[in-house]
């Protein structure tokens, strides 16, 4: 791996800018049966809560045109399991480990961040945008005050780089991004899934047991590019872009819009090697375009 793809994001060194997105990659154990995790820039692990969560009943997934809805509901084994079992394993994999956390209330966010602060995690991504749980999650992500309060609580609890993961289901994602920046967030990541719904014509029931769920996949890509561009132009902290990225071209487009790190989620379900192919594609792109480091393209879109 050459230095062409190496990026520094919020003070953390990544060997390349491609990171499997939280919820799409578990704790890496499954995809390691396809390729070594050291290929990846980093891993954003499954959303982790203070206590284990069982998640929502099935069906939790529905296919949509060029995308999918999910309503997993933050099923996870809890932060202690993450710290004691998954993190020691991940730290042997030679890749950046991003903890992804969600709380039921502001205090809980602070509590989890404090527990992770003492660990070997490289960065904390704070989920204030999960559309699939009643308590917590998106409740904080849709108002500036809520987003600011969570950021403040996490900021007080940890000296690790903090990245706030933003919801697209808001009137102005720019205002939310500014609110978390003002409270000391080191970075923002966006977009989480767009709230959606599908109905089975025969049964007249929603396909998802949770009735509604989060839309991801290529269908949301243009929305994500637009929001990344708007946010990158409005804040000084770095932006991690995600939402429907499936190819290296998508990743490069996301970076030109202003993302200095890119996460890949649903694309992994269509092709388990999607992230690896994106990394290889970006490397070739740098070679062909004589780009000495991929960071050079970040935010270089020339708007009309």
């Amino acid at each position: 791996m050459s230095e062409k793809l190496a990026v520094n994001f919020a003070g953390v060194q990544f060997k390349n800018p491609i990171v499997p997105a939280s919820g799409a990659f578990g704790y890496g154990r499954e995809y390691e049966k396809f390729f070594p995790l050291s290929k990846l820039g980093g891993i954003s692990v499954k959303g982790t809560t203070l206590k284990p969560r069982n998640g929502n009943p099935a069906p939790r997934i529905a296919e949509t045109p060029s995308g999918m809805l999910n309503s997993v509901g933050l099923q996870n084994p809890g932060v202690e399991h993450f710290l004691n079992v998954e993190l020691p394993n991940l730290k042997t994999k030679d890749t950046v480990v991003i903890a992804n956390v969600a709380g039921a209330n502001v205090e809980e966010y602070g509590e989890i961040a404090a527990m992770i602060d003492k660990s070997e995690v490289d960065m904390i991504e704070v989920n204030i945008s999960c559309p699939n749980v009643k308590e917590g999650g998106v409740a904080f992500g849709v108002t500036c005050d809520g987003a600011a309060a969570v950021t403040r609580a996490v900021r007080r609890a940890t000296s690790k780089p903090v990245m706030m993961k933003l919801s697209p289901n808001v009137t102005s994602i720019v205002d939310i991004a500014k609110a978390v920046e003002a409270e000391g967030a080191d970075a923002v990541s966006l977009i989480n899934t767009l709230l959606g719904m599908r109905i089975d014509l025969k049964t007249r029931r929603p396909i998802l047991h949770n009735n509604v769920g989060g839309l991801s996949g290529p269908a949301v890509f243009p929305v994500a590019v637009r929001m990344v561009w708007q946010v990158a132009n409005a804040v000084k902290i770095p932006v991690c872009g995600m939402g429907g990225v499936s190819t290296w071209e998508d990743a490069a487009e996301m970076m030109m819009a202003g993302a200095s790190l890119v996460q890949v989620g649903a694309a992994l379900f269509a092709d388990p090697y999607a992230a690896v192919k994106i990394i290889d594609g970006l490397e070739n792109y740098c070679d062909e375009q004589k780009i000495s480091n991929i960071s050079e393209i970040v935010g270089t879109v020339k708007p009309w």
Binding site: G23, A24, F25, G26, R29, E30, Y31, K33, F34, K46, N54, G55, N56, P57, A58, P59, R60, I61, A62, E63, S66, G67, M68, N70, V72, Q75, G217, P218, A266, L268, F269, A270, D271, P272, Y273
Partner: protein, 259 residues
């Protein structure tokens, strides 16, 4: 266990019944790893999510996997339009837990309902004459795989709901008759939920071990995305297991504890 993703040639394709297709895929690396009860996750042209299809046969010498599947919607329709000689994009072999096969001298009852029949052929082959296969379908036009079951040496009881082929009635009726006279060492089943519940209840009443193969809408197919949740009881607690990784085969007591 290693997972593979790749494009492999379809070396034969047959139509077994209306909208039910039989394909053989030449994939030696996958066949070498595959075990009875696992599945393959198949790319459907034009769709993002893959379609999980159970493995019907594994020929490790020839490096061939056989799948038999029914067209259920647009994705499986697209897969059914692939022809002999075409390449098929699969992720396989998947499923953290296949059927647990006892010593082949043990007595097994193997029950398939409709498109739940294909994964049972491999078990019948293992137990041979020590197995009784109960193979159920809606009607005569839906009947598949009877020659394959017969070749294993197992006793085969064909049932149709309307009596248009074999014995009239549900597989659970045939099972009740068997259990009235004998006690097999294990029961295996794959088919509709209502059928599985009936079988698990009958097995529980006689204290016979029972393994069931389940299906659920899937995302990654490998256990990372957690969408294929299945309600189970673990240590007395409710737990959403995942069909792709924790299954697709489960002990009946885990998934139907009250039957």
């Amino acid at each position: 266990m290693q997972y593979f993703q790749g494009n492999y040639p379809i070396i034969s394709k047959k139509t077994l019944a209306k909208e039910i297709y039989d394909m053989e895929i030449l994939c030696p690396d996958v066949a070498a790893e595959a075990v009875c009860g696992q599945f393959v996750n198949i790319k459907a042209d034009g769709y993002m999510l893959r379609r999980p299809i159970s493995i019907c046969g594994i020929d490790k010498d020839k490096g061939i996997l056989r799948i038999v599947f029914e067209v259920r919607g647009k994705g499986t329709k697209a897969i059914s339009q692939l022809r002999e000689g075409d390449m098929i994009d699969i992720v396989a072999p998947l499923g953290g837990r296949g059927f647990e096969l006892l010593d082949s001298g043990k007595k097994a009852v193997i029950i398939g309902g409709g498109i739940g029949n294909p994964p049972m052929v491999g078990i019948a082959r293992h137990y041979g004459k020590n197995a009784t296969v109960i193979s159920g379908f809606r009607n005569a036009s839906a009947v598949i795989l009877q020659e394959d079951f017969a070749k294993t040496g197992a006793e085969v009881i064909l049932c149709t709901d309307d009596g248009s082929a074999g014995r009239k009635g549900f597989v659970t009726n045939a099972l009740a008759d068997i259990l009235a006279e004998s006690t097999p060492d294990i029961i295996y089943a794959c088919g509709p939920d209502v059928m599985l519940r009936g079988i698990c209840k009958a097995a529980a009443e006689k204290g016979i071990r029972c393994q069931v193969s389940l299906e659920e809408r899937m995302g990654c197919g490998v256990g990372a995305c957690l969408v294929c949740a299945c309600r189970t009881i673990r240590d007395g607690q409710e737990y959403f297991a995942h069909v792709c990784k924790d299954g697709p085969v489960f002990d009946s007591k885990e998934v139907y504890p009250n039957e």
